[in-house]
């Protein structure tokens, strides 16, 4: 019993020393779950009408250094367009809207997240999905399924 207790304390001590305890909490998370965005209408002589969603948010925990958030996506066989912009930020500065392209390198999404202020920062994820008539439709070509990753890194 005592030996097990000592082992537990030792493990906690090692994690603490490595900064690991901080990382056991979710430092960044997407709230609101997965999204389905449907482009359903279009204009003759123009293009299908883009759709937007602000149904999801990003929660970011404060760190001891200035941080930023980057975004990337994996969408094999991508056919349509998807972009994201951080809005309603409680802290930090939004980068310009990012076009999400399969295999893209991580792009800056939020910059200058400070070391002070509230523990949790949030922003709304404003997604815009669009397509051209020439890009076709999901019935013939299938949906685009993006696995989107937000990463909190030191700036």
């Amino acid at each position: 019993m005592n030996r097990a207790l000592i082992r537990s304390f030792a493990l906690v001590g090692i994690l603490w020393a490595a900064g690991g305890l901080t990382h056991l909490r979710a430092q960044i998370s997407v709230q609101g779950g997965n999204l389905l965005m449907s482009v359903t209408t279009g204009t003759a002589g123009a293009q299908p009408v883009a759709v937007t969603s602000t149904a999801t948010t990003l929660r970011i925990r404060r760190e001891t250094v200035v941080t930023k958030v980057t975004v990337s996506t994996s969408c094999p066989g991508q056919r349509f367009s998807l972009a994201v912009l951080a809005t309603n930020l409680t802290s930090g500065v939004a980068a310009p809207q990012v076009n999400l392209v399969n295999g893209m390198p991580a792009a800056d999404f939020i910059l200058n997240l400070p070391t002070n202020g509230t523990l949790n920062k949030t922003c709304t994820l404003r997604y815009t999905a669009s397509a051209t008539f020439a890009q076709g439709n999901s019935t013939e070509l299938g949906n685009d399924v993006h696995s989107i990753t937000y990463t909190l890194v030191a700036q």
């Binding site: 901080t22 990382h23 979710a26 430092q27 960044i28 998370s29 997407v30 609101g32 779950g33 997965n34 999204l35 389905l36 965005m37 449907s38 482009v39 359903t40 209408t41 279009g42 204009t43 003759a44 002589g45 123009a46 293009q47 299908p48 999801t56 990003l58 929660r59 925990r61 760190e63 250094v65 941080t67 349509f80 367009s81 998807l82 997604y127 999905a129 397509a131 051209t132 008539f133 020439a134 890009q135 076709g136 439709n137 999901s138 019935t139 013939e140 949906n143 685009d144 399924v145 993006h146 696995s147 989107i148 990753t149 937000y150 990463t151 909190l152 890194v153 030191a154 700036q155």
Partner: protein, 152 residues
Amino acid sequence: MAVLLASGTAHAQVYGTGTHTVTVQVSVITAVRVSGASVNLNISAANVVAGQNQMSVTDQSTSLLWGTNSSLRKVSVNTNLAAPKFTLRLLALNPTAGNAAPQVTLSTSANDLLLNIGRSSGSCTLQYTGIALASQGTGTDVHVITFTVAAQ
């Protein structure tokens, strides 16, 4: 030591990641419309050539606009007037996508106006030609014309 420092600079510390899935679905979308007002084709004395029975007049004041994200599509045209007194013909001029079919004599049956417009957004000028024979006398035909994007 120098190598280690360079390596540390290239990879900023990662504090965590958050992921979710966003699915983009694009429905089958077809849109078609006519720009411009109603067309009036008046065959009058100015269209008469002495010694010829046939008189005609043309109009290019309207355009057809479309958008379709389906493959292998065409535009067909028909009129609601089952028994016109005079002849009305239609030709698509200068389509920005696809190919114009030969000039169509309008009837209640669908006739091809444009071919190969699949997955495009475009427009063309509608050239109407009204034809009357002097022997047909006078009168008025009123057509309601329908354009349809259909599978080719």
